[in-house]
């Protein structure tokens, strides 16, 4: 009985493969954009312009407070009303990278604040400009501190990408949803979908734990 269903599910392997490819592609693209914007957010949040930091804090809070599903709907249904039409894929990338940027921004800001002020004072005393202090002294140390949480954030991003299936994008979760309509065995279908995510996420979770342990050894 189980073999019968397994055979039928594997008849759909092109759909599963396509979904897996979409999940990886969507996550990677959003990751790159999210990290780039997130570091910008973090520098502003930890920076000296307090009003800019506060205004950005409100923006970030909004996206940390609302469910990702609601954010996907906002991008997909509200942006068209102000004249920005997006495909499901583009909407997914915008929503995912925006949320990632908000969470990464707070992580980066915390990392920058964790670097002792003596470091940038020493850099200042040796004649570096503000940009040089950030690039050569503060940021490299902050990046070391935040790397484990960043990797953890990547895992969250990959998992959150499943929510984009709600606007019809054919990712791994959506492919399972389609297959279960004709192969009525949810345990098997979503078991396989789960294995797909596990293959992507588990190595990253492991990496994050290892980095965390190594980081503790370096800083204690």
């Amino acid at each position: 009985m189980v073999w019968f269903y397994l055979e039928r599910i594997f008849g759909y392997w092109p759909v599963l493969l396509k979904g897996m490819g979409m999940t990886i592609g969507l996550s990677l693209l959003s990751l790159v954009i999210g990290v780039a914007i997130g570091f910008g957010f973090g520098i502003i949040r930890a920076g000296r312009n307090r009003w800019a930091a506060r205004a950005l804090g409100l923006y970030i809070d909004f996206f940390r407070a609302t469910p990702f599903l609601v954010q996907v709907f906002i991008v997909f249904f509200i942006l068209p009303q102000v004249g920005i039409e997006l495909s499901a894929f583009a909407a997914g990338v915008v929503a995912l990278s925006n949320m990632a940027a908000c969470f990464i921004g707070e992580i980066v800001a915390a990392g920058l604040k964790a670097v002792p002020p003596g470091q940038s004072e020493a850099a200042l005393a040796s004649g570096m400009t503000r940009a040089q202090q950030m690039r050569l002294v503060v940021m490299p140390q902050a990046v070391r501190i935040i790397t484990p949480s960043l990797v953890g954030q990547f895992v969250l991003l990959i998992k959150d990408s499943s929510v984009v299936s709600a606007i019809g994008l054919l990712d791994l979760t959506r492919s399972g949803w389609l297959i279960v309509q004709s192969v009525p065995n949810g345990l098997l279908v979503f078991g396989i979908v789960g294995v797909g995510y596990f293959i992507i996420c588990y190595p990253l979770i492991h990496l994050s734990r290892r980095l965390e342990r190594r980081g503790q050894a370096a800083f204690l």
Binding site: V70, F73, I78, Q81, V155, T173, G186, V189, V193, G194
Partner: protein, 222 residues
């Protein structure tokens, strides 16, 4: 854009939004309790010395953490009827949310317990306290203090995650907002109302976590 917000329609749907808000609160509270039970159990299994008892806890935590909640939700929603278990959607949702959050809570509680310096446990041993006494008198009182803030953080995640239950047609805050979108073709009004509901919950819990932190932080350890 917000200037054109149709507040009359929003007020008209206020009772339904309020119902949705209460449903979200109820779902999250019920799942939080379930997740706490699972989390404490999984953590207790994970930190005790017997290897074959540790294994199931580790598999549970890793399997949950490496897969998305939506896939877990569909696994139960499409899978349970196969096993002859027919449950209302709301109950399936609570089970899925509890299972999901329980894994994260196990990790939170475990790292709280592991944060207690080894020397304190040894000091307890040398004064002749038993394992349970050491746990009750030395480890847990300190560990619980450092776990409260992350647990509140997990409650925030749980509330946001409960929005996914709208995808298996449980009526909660997100679903209630969609009613405005579907009945009146006003997605903006529906989403604004929904977002406001979640913002209220977020700020209440965030300030609770801050207040707790301010009153109870241990000297030297945040």
């Amino acid at each position: 854009m917000l200037g054109g917000l149709n507040t009359r329609v929003m007020l008209e749907y206020l009772p339904e939004i309020w119902q949705g808000f209460l449903a979200t609160l109820f779902l999250s509270a019920a799942s939080f309790v379930g997740a706490m039970v699972l989390g404490v159990l999984a953590c207790a299994l994970a930190i005790q010395p017997l290897r074959w008892l540790r294994a199931p806890a580790v598999v549970y935590v890793d399997a949950i953490r490496a897969t998305p909640l939506l896939a877990q939700l569909y696994f139960l929603y499409f899978g349970l009827p196969r096993l002859g278990v027919v449950l209302p959607e709301m109950l399936i949702g609570i089970i899925a949310l509890s299972l999901n959050s329980g894994a994260y809570m196990a990790e939170i509680i475990r790292s709280g317990i592991l944060s207690i310096p080894r020397g304190q446990v040894e000091a307890g041993m040398s004064t002749g306290l038993s394992y349970l006494q050491r746990m009750r008198l030395i480890v847990l009182p300190q560990a619980l203090r450092v776990t409260v803030s992350p647990l509140i953080g997990q409650a925030i995640v749980l509330i946001k995650d409960s929005s996914l239950l709208s995808l298996i047609s449980v009526v909660e805050l997100t679903r209630a907002g969609q009613r405005i979108a579907i009945d009146r073709f006003m997605p903006v009004e529906g989403l604004v109302a929904t977002a406001l509901g979640y913002l209220v919950l977020y700020y209440v819990l965030k300030s609770a976590a801050g207040a707790w932190q301010a009153r109870n932080s241990l000297p030297g350890r945040g």
